[in-house]
């Protein structure tokens, strides 16, 4: 009888010991901001899916030193002002050591502007140059810069002997900064820009711009669509018989886009300067392994947006794993990241370098069945 009691007591003690660490250990909290709704949602959701996929795998492999990793994700509603508000909310949470932001460039620029005031390392997955130049101490960019994308595009266009280029960009700051980069790179490469048109996000009729582009007879047409009217523009491109090869900004491609244009097949043959990560299905070695891991975690082949999110989360995980899990510690660890292999290439930062991936991570994708295949 007493033996039984003893054994039960021992069981209780053992249980208590066994359970206690798991129950007491607090989750490792990573702050997250994403445009889960609004105009930017269709692509930022895909980025967040990649982030969540990485964290899921991370947790399955035991998390951070046995602690469960928890992404505390807040929606900025595709609105910079909302983003700033939710950012402050995350900053006030002392358990948040680092914040990942998957939002449009405009929003991230607003966050970058205040990041140094709050002294929480923040990493943004967007491409605009100004996110990293000039650098803010606490704000890191994970994706290659627009300059890297545009340079890759121009060099690729030139390599095909296409010397006349037409461009269409939004009138927004981001759109126009992209247009400026294209003009600079084109001039340097000797490629002529025969038409440079712009549009507002609220526009519904793009005929004027597209006809002017058609009439300029370019060899190649790049359309810097960001968000909103991508379906309308793409339909009108087809309807107006713009038959030259065309590239779209990679953010155009998402489920809404494919549904709106009448199916993925409709976009077959369209080019886009994208992170190589999204085209890693055919790669080998570590990249292929990571890509498969990401795809398995999501249950479908990872897109370039998914891998952008996955890679960003990977950078964060690396920084946390190599630090003492304090805000300062993570900052230092991020700064010391050197050639960290992720799906999309190698990531490095430096004491005053916040640029993340570079042009080595960018390739030109050709859409086939809704997936990018590296173009010749």
């Amino acid at each position: 009888m007493s033996g039984l009691i003893l054994r039960m007591a021992a069981g209780v003690v053992l249980l208590t010991i066994g359970l206690a660490p798991a129950a007491r250990a607090e989750d490792l909290v990573i702050g997250g901001i994403g445009s889960m709704t609004g105009v930017a949602a269709s692509f930022d959701r895909a980025v967040v899916e990649g982030i969540q996929a990485y964290i899921k795998v991370w947790n399955m492999q035991g998390g951070f030193k046995g602690r469960h990793v928890n992404l505390q994700l807040l929606d900025d509603e595709s609105n910079a002002a909302t983003a700033v508000t939710v950012y402050r909310k995350l900053v006030e949470d002392k358990s948040v050591g680092i914040i990942i932001a998957a939002s449009p460039s405009q929003t991230l620029l607003a966050i970058k502007a205040i990041a140094d005031d709050y002294r929480v390392p923040t990493i943004g997955s967007a491409t605009v140059v100004q996110l990293a130049v000039p650098p803010a101490k606490y704000f890191f960019r994970s994706l290659p810069g627009t300059d890297a994308y545009m340079l890759t595009l121009i060099n690729w266009v030139k390599a095909h002997g296409w010397m006349k280029l037409a461009i269409l960009n939004p009138s927004s700051a981001a759109g126009q900064s992209e247009a400026g980069l294209l003009k600079k790179d084109a001039a340097a490469a000797g490629v002529q820009i025969v038409a440079a048109e712009r549009y507002n996000d609220t526009d519904t009729n793009f005929t004027a711009q597209l006809v002017n582009i058609r009439n300029a007879r370019p060899d190649f047409f790049y359309c810097g669509i960001i968000g909103g009217p991508s379906v309308t523009i793409f339909k009108q491109v087809k309807q107006l018989h713009l038959t030259m090869p065309i590239a779209l900004h990679s953010s155009a491609f998402n489920p809404n886009f494919y549904r709106g244009i009448g199916g993925v097949k409709e976009a077959d043959g369209v080019y886009s300067p994208v992170e190589r990560g999204g085209m890693a299905g055919s790669a080998s070695g570590l990249v292929a392994k990571l890509y498969k891991e990401a795809s398995d975690a999501m249950g479908h082949p990872a897109t370039n947006l998914n891998t952008a999110g996955w890679d960003t989360a990977m950078i964060v995980a690396h920084a946390i794993e190599t630090s003492n899990d304090t805000r300062q510690g993570i900052l230092v660890a991020l700064e010391n990241t050197q050639d960290l292999p992720v799906i999309g290439g190698l990531v490095s930062y430096g004491p005053s370098d916040r640029r993340g991936k570079d042009e080595r991570s960018v390739g030109i994708g050709r859409l086939t069945d809704g997936h990018f295949v590296e173009a010749k």
Binding site: N205, Q239, N256, G260
Partner: protein
């Protein structure tokens, strides 16, 4: 200046102008019959578009989706009149305008809650192919836009000009006091006109959604442009409002094509400002004693 390019700009502008026109007619009818500038007019375009696309995405047959959308536009217009117009009929004009703006915000918010923030797209009623007219490539859907606009405007003009009901509506617009004396129920006319305007806006939304997509905030642009058309048309004659709104769509497109894509809005609002300077804000004087449809 080659014809094909001109036709391309003008005809695609005409398609957008059709939406402005259906909105402008609503503005003018509501303003003249009820004395209220219905700033929620553009929202009905959004409702029409988003309901059609939303229902179609749930595999509801297209004709049903279209009917439901137009019907809902009419019902919302009717409700707006009963709930927010009739009770403030005697209130000062700024108050009535504020209430109408409030309705716009409510409709937007409701759309946001029901359909979320993503834009809803839809394939053309008969696919996304094109036809060529005067060298211009136009989506087949444009035919539906033109047809629906012509049908609605035609029906509205016939009704206003040649039927007893139309005469009564115009009478209320011209002189509500005298119309009451004739035994015309002015409240009922106001209700009818709001319902018809709601349906007109929704119809515009239904036919344009395959070309432009629709999201909770897409009504504003159409509302503003329709309002501008209505002002340039004098804000009292549906005929001139329609003509001005169509012209505005064409002008906007020509400006974007021949001047630059930024010139579009500058031209639009430049025309509006010029008009207001010339006409000295005639519209602000309130209800005009005219609501003619014919005789032009």
């Amino acid at each position: 200046m080659d014809l094909a390019t001109f036709a391309q700009f003008a005809l695609s502008g005409l398609t957008t102008g059709c939406v402005y026109a259906l909105v402008a007619i609503g503005f003018v009818l509501c303003a003249n019959v009820s004395g209220i500038v219905n700033f929620a007019q553009g929202e009905y375009v959004m409702v029409g578009g988003i309901v059609t696309a939303g229902l179609a995405s749930l595999a509801v047959p297209l004709p049903v989706a279209i009917l439901v959308a137009v019907f809902l536009g009419g019902v919302f217009g009717f409700l707006q009149e009963r709930v927010t117009v009739a009770p403030v009929r005697r209130a000062p004009m700024f108050l009535q305008a504020t209430v109408a703006l409030g309705v716009a915000v409510v409709i937007q918010s409701a759309a946001l809650i029901v359909w979320g923030k993503d834009p809803y797209g839809l394939s053309g009623f008969v696919g996304d192919d094109v036809f060529v007219l005067l060298g211009a490539y136009l989506p087949l859907q444009a035919l539906f836009v033109w047809g629906a606009t012509a049908a609605f405007v035609g029906a509205a003009f016939y009704l206003l000009k040649f039927t007893e009901l139309g005469r009564a509506i115009r009478a209320v617009a011209i002189n509500p006091g005298a119309a009451t004396m004739m035994g015309i129920k002015t409240g009922r006319m106001s209700m009818l006109v709001f319902a018809a305007s709601g349906a007109a806006g929704a119809l515009a939304g239904v036919v344009i959604v395959p070309i432009t997509s629709a999201s909770w905030d897409s009504g504003l642009e159409f509302g503003v442009k329709g309002f501008t058309g209505a002002i340039i048309g004098g804000f009292h004659s549906p005929f001139w409002a329609t003509a001005a709104a169509l012209g505005l769509g064409v002008l906007e497109s020509l400006a974007a094509g021949y001047v630059s894509s930024e010139a579009k809005d500058i031209v639009t609002y430049g025309v509006l400002l010029a008009y207001l300077m010339i006409r000295g804000g005639a519209f602000l004087r309130g209800r005009r004693v005219v609501a003619s449809t014919g005789g032009h």
